[in-house]
């Protein structure tokens, strides 16, 4: 007999491996941004799996809250801190990876043995009856949330407010010294110039060339060399600086060719 293949099964066999792939990516990618994006992939696939499990409300909450809000929050913070330093692949703790892998395999075997052993052969009841009781999945969930779980619901609202206040408190940067005045700043600048020869004026602008004017383009000094101070150190470290002399050379060639053309026409 040919086994009946349903849409849910097809969905599972597509979204499941993708979710696992995302999980592997999370722990394997060196760069945190890639790891976060792998995580987002997993989230979306889990949302799809929710859909295959007749949990339409959760599918959208998963996409909106997790993938949309939480993961983006992660990316924001990643941008704020250390996006420029990829993880070193050298493990500092001796034997940590091997032991962690073994412990992971242990937990995997344990849960599959424990829960799998308890559930094998149980036919799913399905949610049709439960959904039909109040006229749909969302109606059913809200009926539960606002009746049986109303206290838990109220507590979560309190939790969310607490978390919001907590985030504000933690984000508050408290000053140890009073804010330096304009006068103090200028005095400090001139003292640095007197003692270390630091230039007291503002740093040079980035280069404004004919075809490039991004902040990644360094400014050129009068002799044609690059001014190191005109671009951010972060960009320099990441190696995304535009080769300004090459650009200026190309421009110069263009000018030369234009000049020669004009000259030929003059002659």
């Amino acid at each position: 007999m040919i086994p009946l293949i349903t849409g849910a099964e097809i969905t599972f066999w597509i979204a499941g491996p993708l979710a696992v792939l995302g999980g592997i990516g999370l722990i394997a990618f060196r760069k945190a941004v890639y790891a976060a994006l792998s995580m987002a992939l997993t989230m979306i696939n889990i949302a799809v799996l929710y859909a295959s499990l007749d949990a339409m409300f959760l599918t959208f909450v998963q996409i909106i809250v997790y993938t949309g809000a939480i993961m983006m929050l992660f990316l924001f913070v990643l941008m704020l801190v250390g996006v420029d330093t990829p993880d070193s692949l050298v493990e500092t703790l001796r034997g940590q990876r091997v032991a962690a892998t073994l412990a992971g395999i242990g937990i995997l075997g344990l849960i599959i043995f424990g829960i799998g052993g308890a559930l094998t052969g149980v036919a799913p009841v399905g949610l049709d009856a439960a959904n039909a009781q109040y006229g749909g999945n969302i109606e059913g969930l809200s009926a539960l949330i606002f009746s049986r779980y109303v206290f838990a619901f109220e507590l979560t609202s309190a939790l969310l407010i607490t978390a919001a206040v907590g985030a504000m408190v933690l984000g508050q940067r408290s000053r140890v010294h009073s804010r330096p005045t304009q006068k103090e700043l200028s005095q400090e600048r001139l003292r640095a110039y007197a003692e270390e020869g630091t230039h007291p004026g503002s740093l040079p602008n980035s280069g404004v060339l004919a075809r490039h004017n991004s902040i990644a383009t360094p400014g050129l000094l009068p002799d044609g060399t690059v001014s190191e101070q005109s671009v951010s150190e972060t960009l320099a470290a990441r190696g995304v600086i535009v080769d300004a002399p090459a650009l200026s050379r190309a421009t110069a060639q263009v000018f030369e060719s234009v000049d020669s053309t004009i000259g030929e026409e003059d002659e």
Partner: protein, 99 residues
């Protein structure tokens, strides 16, 4: 469709999250691994919900998501505070648990 497969999938994801916490040094990635573990548990609960024919599992998942959101807010705030003082998000740098 038997819930077994969903459970095994959830277990695999959970394990990946556990291993991630243990091997990744970046606090943010470790934090994401924890989120992955939460999601694995959510998946299992939704699968149970279908298997048992009740919506309670989905409600529980909903609450887990709310709590996770609150947790992420606080957790990321803490990471930022640590970054401010130590200029690093590496978990190995924060070995202050030792005397």
């Amino acid at each position: 469709m038997s819930p077994d497969y969903y459970l095994i999938l959830a277990t695999i994801l959970f394990t990946l999250g556990t291993v991630g916490v243990m091997v990744r040094r970046n606090a943010l990635v470790a934090f994401m691994s924890i989120e992955l573990m939460l999601n694995a548990a959510n998946l299992a609960m939704v699968a149970f919900s279908l298997a048992r024919g009740g919506l309670d599992g989905q409600v529980a998942t909903f609450f887990v998501m709310v709590v996770a959101a609150a947790e992420v807010v606080i957790g990321l705030s803490i990471i930022i505070v640590i970054y401010r003082t130590r200029r690093s998000t590496s978990m190995d740098a924060a070995s202050l648990l030792k005397l």
